[in-house]
Amino acid sequence: MTRHSPKIGVYGFTGCAGDQLMILNCEDQLVDLFGATEIRSFVMAKSDNHEGELDVAFIEGSISTEEQLKRLKEIRERSKVMIAIGTCACHGGPQSMKLGENKFDEMYKKVYGNAKIAISKAFEAQPIDAFVKVDMYIPGCPIDKAEFLGAVTKLVAGRHPYLLKAPVCLECRWKENPCILYSGKFCGGPLTKAGCGAICPSMNLPCVGCWGPTDDLNASSEYNLLKEKGYRSEEIIQKMKKFGGAKMAKLVAEFDKKEAKA
């Protein structure tokens, strides 16, 4: 990582373009950002895009077609550092909430019937680290301006970004919200990586988990708790998997199996 003007590329795959949009939403820093870095490719923001060697590639979105996969690998080859931005790239995003349930073909048929779509073969969306090595993750649906800029400014300075690993509850307590989970209702806070500032609980709403799973979570305990509180199994699992992607799919499969045995 060079200290001066790192060469940067921003790429979008399957997702809502929200993370790229968040970059454009850094109105106050945008001009400096373009000044401090050499943005070689950022299709959503500009049209003179030159590919080639990159210091940092920011990847948004999950991978769901052969075409994308090819492109992702090609970008990886010419990037020193690859950073997944947004929950889709980091974990798969909402489009991979049914990972592990083998429902993709069925759903695909329902939507497209037997119509032939020539451009590329599609498959169930997966996070980018299912295919390439990822050096850093900046999750969020969409990413948080401050968290993203905090990381980028460090990269530009030749330093290492620091992102909170703790769950949303940490920031939720800083905001001093009454705990939703304590009151017996679902809240994804304990399962979800902090970084957003606990926006949702601060509005009296449960965290829906949009930052994706945190480093060290106890999904089965929350599952048991909510069952005790009268939630249906399917509903809890649906809620957990909404933004939980590949990691949560695995955890849920584990305690699902345990439950089936018991």
Binding site: K154, A157, G158, R159, H160, Y162
Partner: protein
Amino acid sequence: MKKMCVVLDEREVQDNPFKPEMFRIVRRYPLTSDVNFFQARPMDVDEALKFNYLPGQFIMLSVVGEGEAPFCISSSPTRPGLLEFCIRNVGTLTSSLSNLKENQTIGIRGPYGNGFPMDKLEGKDIMIVAGGLGVAPLRSLLLNILDDRDKFGKVTYMYGARTPELMLFRDEFMRFKERDDINCLLAVEKDESGTWKDKFGMVTSLFKDLGPIDAKNTVAVVCGPPVMYKFVMEHVVKLGIPKHQILMTLERRMKCGIGKCGHCAIEYLYTCIDGPVFSWWDVLHMKELIGRGASDKTFA
């Protein structure tokens, strides 16, 4: 009523203990592929001579824009003016540090920690057992002892490294072998380059070459990776050295170095202010000092 509260206003305002002072890197070179040697001194030369410390103490080192981490001082207080460190490149701060060049600045505050009780070591036979990066604090102790040689009894130094290339300060220690006021025992586990002319094996294998010791008058000082302690301690205890005369330095995550951030707490002790030097007796009844907690039955 015991005491009035909030009499803080009357207290003398101390300097901000969290504030790093800027130091200049004077020399810097690699000791092995991932360990760097650093010499640094305060920007202000007068300050340099005032910086006083004990072997075994550590400082909090800041790399601008990266953060802070604790490192033992490897130089000896008997040679004031310059601070020396040997630092392994393992993570974020250490890798940024390894990119710094001579004449660039770092922040330093300290020294912190109890350090080795030098006054209590006087008159004692000293046995030093080092493994891997454990050399960092032990070199400070060793150099200090050698500079004040007549204050101490017999001195034994044992150091094991995996290969000759991984032996830190190898040339320096090889020269000690030629001195007769210190018994310097070095071993490597393997040597692919074929340059090693000395003993082979783990550091524990050196115990058989120790010769007779006066256990009751010996202080053993051990430092190395956590796994090393278990094996080395067995040998040291077998020699009959009292448990409170076996010292070791420990590593914990630290964010402040002065007992505020809590990270290094073990029961009621803080590694930073109550340590990092502990005795084997401390360890035996404070299981978490080197054990790994509830799952670890070593000390049960």
